[in-house]
């Protein structure tokens, strides 16, 4: 059984059907990419699966359990984490605190115990600080840990989002354009980081425009065009598919 199964998923906004009858399955441990021209419905598909939108039609299953229509905070409990195309960093907090929020569900959130700082809470918080620092080192941000997020450069914030998502110990991680706005060297670093994440048994679903990166790291690729599934396959299959070439370069039929 695949870890994530998407079956006949559709959503319309007014008259525009942004995602139309899309089906695919993601096997555990893979890097699975979703590509397509601008406006193909990639981010909408992400928002449907991660609970930001509710689908009009179709089914989504995570490890066999139906999750369509669940709120984002309920999906977090099921082991889902994500990053955002346009950064969603808490600028009012430090880098380390951002990562610590990622571990929200693993902690005792009791208000009264927190106010009286029960010994268990204080100890767990110290452990969490260490874990969060390790995660920041994992994504290559060890030098930033004590800095306010608002004073970090854009490229570092992209990686901070990944560290925060990993703090949730997800089964499946959705990365929405992790290399957007980065230069070639930074993109290569993200490329390497995504591989490292997948090697740690976290299934990665990726939306990305950087074709070099996608072809490089994806085990399988789904191609969307005008909200519909164009094709799916390995990097080589997708690259050689005439429909894909037509969608990207335009065809002269």
């Amino acid at each position: 059984m695949a870890l994530l199964e998407v079956d006949n998923l559709s959503i319309a906004f007014g008259g525009v059907t942004a995602v139309q009858h899309v089906s695919f399955a993601v096997e555990r441990g893979l890097v699975y990419s979703v590509i397509g021209p601008n406006g193909a419905g990639k981010t909408t598909l992400f928002n449907l699966i991660t609970g930001v939108y509710t689908p009009n039609e179709g089914e989504i299953r995570l490890a066999g359990e139906s999750i369509a229509g669940m709120a984002p905070h309920e999906l977090a409990l099921k082991g889902m984490a994500r990053t955002f195309q346009n950064l969603q960093i808490c600028m009012n907090m430090t880098a380390l605190e951002n990562v610590m929020v990622g571990a929200h569900l693993q902690l005792d959130r009791n208000l009264v115990k927190a106010m009286l700082r029960f010994p268990g809470i204080a100890r767990r918080d110290r452990e969490l600080k260490d874990t969060a620092r390790e995660l920041m080192a994992f994504v290559g941000l060890e030098s930033y840990w004590n800095l306010g997020a608002s004073s970090m450069p854009y490229g570092a914030l992209k990686r901070l989002e990944i560290a925060r998502a990993l703090a949730a110990k997800p089964r499946i991680l959705f990365l929405d354009e992790p290399a957007a706005g980065l230069n070639a060297r930074e993109t290569a670093e993200i490329d390497e980081l995504v591989r490292k994440v997948a090697d740690n048994d976290v299934t990665v679903v990726l939306v990305e425009h950087d074709m070099k990166m996608v072809m490089n790291i994806s085990d399988r690729i789904l191609v969307l065009d005008y909200g519909k599934k164009l094709t799916e396959g390995t990097a080589r299959e997708v690259r050689e598919n005439p429909d894909v070439i037509a969608a990207y370069l335009g065809s002269n039929v």
């Binding site: 991660t50 930001v52 409990l77 969603q88 960093i89 907090m93 929200h104 569900l105 106010m115 918080d125």
Partner: protein, 315 residues
């Protein structure tokens, strides 16, 4: 020692509170310090809501009024023990906050401000109109607070009670901010969608902090009523709400000790400006404008950044 490092400001505050009676010349100054302390605790609770969680409330004095009038009415008309009345007031305020919070927190920005404003105004109107119990616009006397036969009366006794409550409140608030609960609150302020994706049930947290700040507002309302020995509807009115919000903003949003500084300054300022005879409101307004133009983030965060380098919440 981690406790020294975590709470060094709190320790300084404790020392100041211990030594202050040595220099306070008379009851007039005790009275001002007590009012500062009451305001500081109120503002702290409000700052958790406005500064940390990013949710505005323009009707907070309504909750203060509920506590004050519970402590006035229940012992006088129904013979309740003042402590029980205080607890009842806090329970009622929390319950009202919890019931209205869910629909209110579907709203954002201006709409949230309007809804909380309405809540405060309704409370004030009910207090004014139920004259049979509340004494109407004239207000009513409040019995003295006695604990196990020991009556808390007079400025000096209240000073020590409030010193302890103040220190406890700031300690607890500091702990809260630095806990999973507090980080979730700040995260939903920073990015609501990101905090949801991390598993934060955003509505639940907004409701919880609203209820908590209402609970403390009511308790401080009760304390005010017992301390002064008399309540009037002014305690619940719109201007009191605005005064509290102003203290939050001037002291510094999302700054624990900003709440203290904001409360101290805005409690002392009207007294200090009384020499301007008739123009004190103008001078007061000018000072507020000056603060907002040159220190829009509030006193404590601005000064902390200028002199301390590292800006942080609560230190």
């Amino acid at each position: 020692m981690s406790i020294l490092r975590r709470h060094h400001v709190l320790i300084i505050l404790a020392a100041v509170l211990l030594l202050l009676p040595l220099v306070l010349p008379n009851n007039y100054y005790y009275d001002i310090v007590i009012r500062m302390a009451i305001n500081a605790i109120l503002v702290l609770g409000l700052n958790l809501l406005i500064g940390f969680a990013g949710q505005i409330s323009l009707g907070h004095a309504g909750f203060v009024g509920i506590g004050a009038y519970a402590s006035a009415i229940l012992p006088t008309h129904f013979g309740w023990h003042p402590l029980l009345a205080m607890a009842a007031g806090a329970t009622i305020a929390s319950a009202i906050a919890a019931i209205v919070a869910r629909p209110i927190f579907r709203l954002k920005g201006h709409y949230l401000a309007m809804a909380t404003l309405g809540l405060g105004i309704i409370t004030a109107i009910v207090i004014k109109n139920e004259a049979a119990y509340t004494g109407g616009p004239d207000g009513m006397p409040v019995v003295a607070l006695a604990l196990m036969g020991f009556e808390i009366s007079g400025e000096k006794k209240w000073y020590w009670v409030l010193a302890v409550v103040l220190l406890f409140s700031f300690w607890a608030a500091r702990n809260l901010i630095d806990s999973p609960f507090g980080r979730a609150l700040r995260a939903l302020h920073g990015s609501e969608v990101a905090s949801q994706v991390m598993g934060v049930d955003v509505v639940r947290y907004k409701v919880a902090i609203f209820v908590l700040s209402a609970f403390f507002a009511s308790l401080m309302g009760s304390v005010t009523a017992h301390y002064i020995g008399f309540v009037t509807p002014n305690i619940a009115d719109f201007f009191h709400s605005i005064e509290l919000v102003t203290m939050v903003v001037i002291g510094g949003m999302a700054s624990i000790y900003g709440s203290l500084i904001g409360a101290i300054l805005l409690t002392a300022l009207p007294q200090a400006l009384s020499t301007f005879e008739g123009w004190e409101t103008v001078v007061f307004g000018a000072i507020l404008m000056f603060c907002m133009i040159f220190m829009p983030r509030g006193l404590v965060p601005t000064l902390a950044q200028r002199f301390g380098g590292r800006e942080s919440e609560g230190d």
